[in-house]
């Protein structure tokens, strides 16, 4: 997968993480988002049955954007771990938020709905997986 040029324009700096490093911690606060420049990450949720992988993201994928769009009001909904060495770009929060605020309230409602729906679905997936695993 290639990285969209438009994202690269928003990268303020790059960060490198070693295998299994926790890049985002579930339940923590933060409104910045990342784009994967090289490597792969696992999105995991903490459940009573341990960590469950809900998604694997690769080059060009964005993560942390849910907290960004809700302006850090919601806590990180999942943890993100490096799966092998990973290079990520940190997106310029202020510029993305400024762009976000230039759209209409209705469109913002739609995007927030998308965030909520994705969060709910991910929670539900984790519950289902833990039920089947148990």
């Amino acid at each position: 997968m290639t990285i969209e040029k438009v994202i690269l324009g928003y990268v303020t700096h790059e960060e490198n993480y070693g295998d299994k490093t926790e890049i985002i911690q579930q339940g923590s606060k933060g409104d910045w988002a990342f784009v994967i420049l090289e490597g792969e990450v696992k999105v995991k949720k903490k459940t009573p049955k341990g960590w469950l992988t809900v998604d694997t993201l690769r080059q060009g994928d964005i993560f942390g954007e849910m907290a960004l769009i809700t302006k850090g009001e919601c806590l990180r909904t999942a943890s993100v771990f490096a799966n092998g060495p990973v290079k990520v770009g940190v997106l310029d929060t202020d510029r993305v938020i400024k762009d976000y605020e230039s759209i209409s309230p209705q469109m913002r409602t739609l995007l927030r709905a998308l965030v909520t729906r994705l969060k709910d679905s991910t929670d539900q997936l984790a519950t289902l997986v833990s039920k089947i695993a148990g």
Binding site: R95, D99, S102, I103, S104, I132
Partner: protein, 265 residues
């Protein structure tokens, strides 16, 4: 005022609602599989969002005032049918939004926002598809607990009737309009043996453990349908044919009765 300033202000102001809609408790608002672009904001009441997978309703969310419905088809530009159904849980009042104007705004919004929205959307679709599949799997293991041990390898315990019945089948998570032809070769109270084409079909469909929805008409003209799980795969007698040994996972009360009657010696 410059013309582009006017446009800016128009976009910033909330777009006017085009209609207020009222639904009674239990009414279906959106049907999964239909094509539609309208977006609704819940003003009053509660709405259940669910996915139909293999005839089962898998709940995805319950929405209340302030939340929106139908944003998925909007983001998809209706290239894909509605990915979930919506039903009124109480008496519901909705505000319908203007999809064309929002679509125009979507195209014009900053590319980074559009990109983030697109990425979230594809992840949501992926997650919902998985939920549908896993939900059906969970139901399957529950059904199996009810039925007791798997019948594989214990076929002789069951009276097996040789037949030659045309049937149609589809993978459980395929849309209902998908139909492949098959031939049921034997029926027992534990499951069926079915011969299918092995070529020109996706192989994943014929994997052990895969769930299929099968529908047929018995020789006594009774229509039956059930969900079965592939427990055995063998080569058919003819080239390009597969013989699938399958155990019932879910049989409706009605189909159960018809099968029982048919199986009487």
């Amino acid at each position: 005022m410059e013309p582009n300033m006017v446009a800016q202000i128009q976009i910033k102001n909330a777009l006017p609602p085009i209609a207020r809609l009222h639904y009674k408790s239990g009414d279906l608002i959106i049907k999964q599989g239909d094509y539609g672009l309208s977006i609704y904001k819940v003003i009053k009441g509660k709405v259940r969002i669910f996915r139909e997978s293999g005839g089962k309703e898998v709940s995805l969310a319950t929405l209340g005032p302030g939340e929106v419905i139908g944003e998925m088809s909007f983001f998809n530009r209706s290239l894909e049918p509605r990915s979930a159904s919506a039903r009124a849980l109480t008496d519901v009042e909705l505000e319908a939004w203007h999809p064309a104007r929002l679509a125009r705004e979507y195209d014009q919004m900053p590319p980074i926002i559009k990109l983030i929205a697109d990425k979230m959307l594809s992840r949501l679709i992926k997650t919902n598809t998985l939920i549908g599949k896993l939900g059906a799997k969970l139901e399957e293991s529950r059904a199996q607990n009810r039925l007791g041990a798997e019948p594989k390898g214990s076929g002789r315990r069951f009276y097996r009737k040789q037949v030659d019945l045309d049937c149609t089948y589809r993978p459980l998570d395929a849309p209902p309009k998908v139909r492949y032809p098959g031939k049921i070769k034997d029926i027992s109270l534990a499951g069926i043996g079915m011969e299918v084409n092995s070529i020109s079909r996706s192989n994943t469909m014929h994997d052990l453990g895969e769930l299929l929805y099968v529908s047929t008409v018995l020789p006594n003209n009774k229509e039956v349908d059930f969900i079965v799980k592939i427990v055995d795969i063998r080569k058919g007698r003819l080239p390009g044919r597969l013989f699938l040994g399958m155990a019932y996972v879910d049989v409706s009360e009605d189909s159960r009765k018809k099968l029982g009657f048919f199986m009487m010696p």
